[in-house]
Symmetry: C2
Subunit: 328 residues, 2 copies
């Protein structure tokens, strides 16, 4: 058997970063997904309620990409009480020609973080108001809340960021850290409503099971990207928000109809006609229906993103001579 | 993060074997599955017809077992032309309490081979005629055809084995090797019909998409275990065989109804009332309805078997000091 390349989180942080080429790669991934070129089975999900845990497996085959990632994402939400992070994971990269294991990417969720943030940048580039000088709001103050604002700053000129989190101390820490990281003012706000009221672009990054954003807060020229929901019982937007929006965009319609914000709107029998992100990413001037439109993007996370980032990471690590060959 | 233990195929061959304790462990796994204690999502399957390949992912959470295996099984059937085996795979062992990766079992499919053969032994111990001096027939001459007869010999006294394979040279090689391995006569036969006619127990081990065994060959006192089908389009038994049998047993009814022999019988609208293997494994005198009965066991392979064998392998490797710790 050929050797297997083992890459640690440190290796992967050294060769993969959130930058415009990564955003472009994700845009292309969505385009190919929506063009019907990708074979992507439904997410495998194992719930472990005994330990407040869940494990998702995502994968996709992309013609022309010689590898397939199998991505395992565990979320075990008692971990912080044990001094461990809630989210973890690894990716296994298999040859698309032979099925042999090419690499083990022990990323502890880092690659998922980057590809998820990059998808947020694709959504913003396609749907957010053009600016300059936008105000961005973010709900949540964790890793994705940080990365999503870095991603947004890659594709839009921001004037300020407003952050809301359930625990005010976390929003304050976020504001401190991100002010220096983004090089612009970041202010905590007292409620989701306050964040939405002032913002041109809002990104929701929480695992909430209760809607955080309500229809009567919507205002002309608002774009919302909701990336927190990836399970039947999660949802950050009141279903009426989707019904009221001028345009609803999904990373994968079939998946959002089960796991995303779209799911709850359909459950209520609301009239929503979603469009798939990949059909819009090549629109030269973006896809906002008008300056005053309200747009929503529902991101659930797709296996095609995992196959793309894992393949890029493997190639970059090989170029840089990172990792350790393991004779299996 | 805690270290990850990496185990190679050689490590795993040194600490895991097909023996009666393994058969007992699988029997217990099936019992718990049928008792509703196990959480086992449907198999994730990715087809790669461009390269004549497929990848399955299986998993299960078993209360009381502190680890969860995620098992990836690629089958790429052009591989032999490249000098590579068709079947491969690995298992990732995650903590059921934290989701952290505990071990990577780079077994190239060895553990799947063993747990599949052990399931065959469970089926035979539960359903095959008692003997002594049974004649066993096997269809196929690959790794599972070998392991299934070794497994059968653990639980039944055999007089002889009859082997049929599509390529007669393979059946002849099988007969040579297995005569010495099993210590009893192994004879190639010219057709599946010849194997069934003479046998008390038949095990089918092929990836056939055409039925190999037909209803009018059935005779009193015959048990058949079909373990080859694990996909919608595979099937080794004519659907009428299931309808004609006195007892049809499935490793997992819901899964056999999609991926197994049961699937084709249900598709034809035939009347079959399957029983789940785990409900029968503790029957003290087996579960044959009568000496003359015809019984069929449909094995599709279950994630609970993977979690059980991976957990046993991890513990055995730790006891023997095998593998290499890897700081991720």
């Amino acid at each position: 058997m050929p050797d297997v390349l083992i890459l640690t989180e440190a290796d992967l942080r050294a060769c993969v970063r959130l930058d415009l080429p990564m955003v472009d790669a994700m845009a292309e991934a969505f385009a190919r997904l929506s063009a019907g070129e990708v074979r992507m089975p439904p997410v495998l999900r194992l719930d472990v309620p005994e330990h407040n845990g869940e494990i998702d497996v995502k994968t996709a085959f992309v013609p022309g990409i010689d590898s397939i990632a199998m991505k395992m994402s565990p979320g075990f939400f008692n971990n912080p009480t044990l001094g461990l992070p809630s989210l973890n994971g690894l990716m296994v990269l298999l040859s698309a020609r032979t099925g042999l294991v090419e690499a083990l990417l022990l990323d502890n969720g880092y690659l998922t973080d980057v590809r998820t943030a990059a998808a947020g940048a694709v959504a913003a580039r396609t749907l957010a108001p053009r600016g300059p000088g936008l105000t961005a709001g973010v709900l949540g103050a964790g890793t994705q809340a940080r990365l999503q604002m870095e991603a947004l700053a890659l594709v839009r000129d921001l004037r300020q960021v407003l952050v809301w989190a359930r625990e005010p101390a976390k929003a304050e820490a976020y504001a401190r850290d991100m002010t220096s990281r983004l090089g612009l003012p970041v202010h905590p706000v007292a409620s989701p409503e306050a964040a939405v009221a002032e913002s041109d672009v809002v990104v929701t990054t929480t695992p909430s099971r209760q809607p955080l954003i309500h229809q009567d807060w919507l205002h002309p020229g608002l774009h919302i990207t909701a990336m927190g929901s990836d399970a039947e019982d999660k949802g950050e937007l009141a279903p009426e928000v989707l019904a009221a929006a001028d345009l609803v965009v999904c990373d994968r319609i079939a998946q959002c109809a089960v796991l995303g914000e779209l799911h709850h709107a359909l459950d209520r029998g609301l009239s929503v006609s979603p469009v798939e992100l990949g059909t819009l990413v090549h629109a030269r001037d973006g896809a906002r229906p008008s300056e005053e439109a309200v747009t929503v993007c529902d991101l659930t996370g797709t296996g095609v993103q995992d196959t793309v980032i894992a393949t890029l990471a493997h190639a970059a690590a090989q170029r840089q001579g990172l990792g350790r060959e393991f004779h299996a």
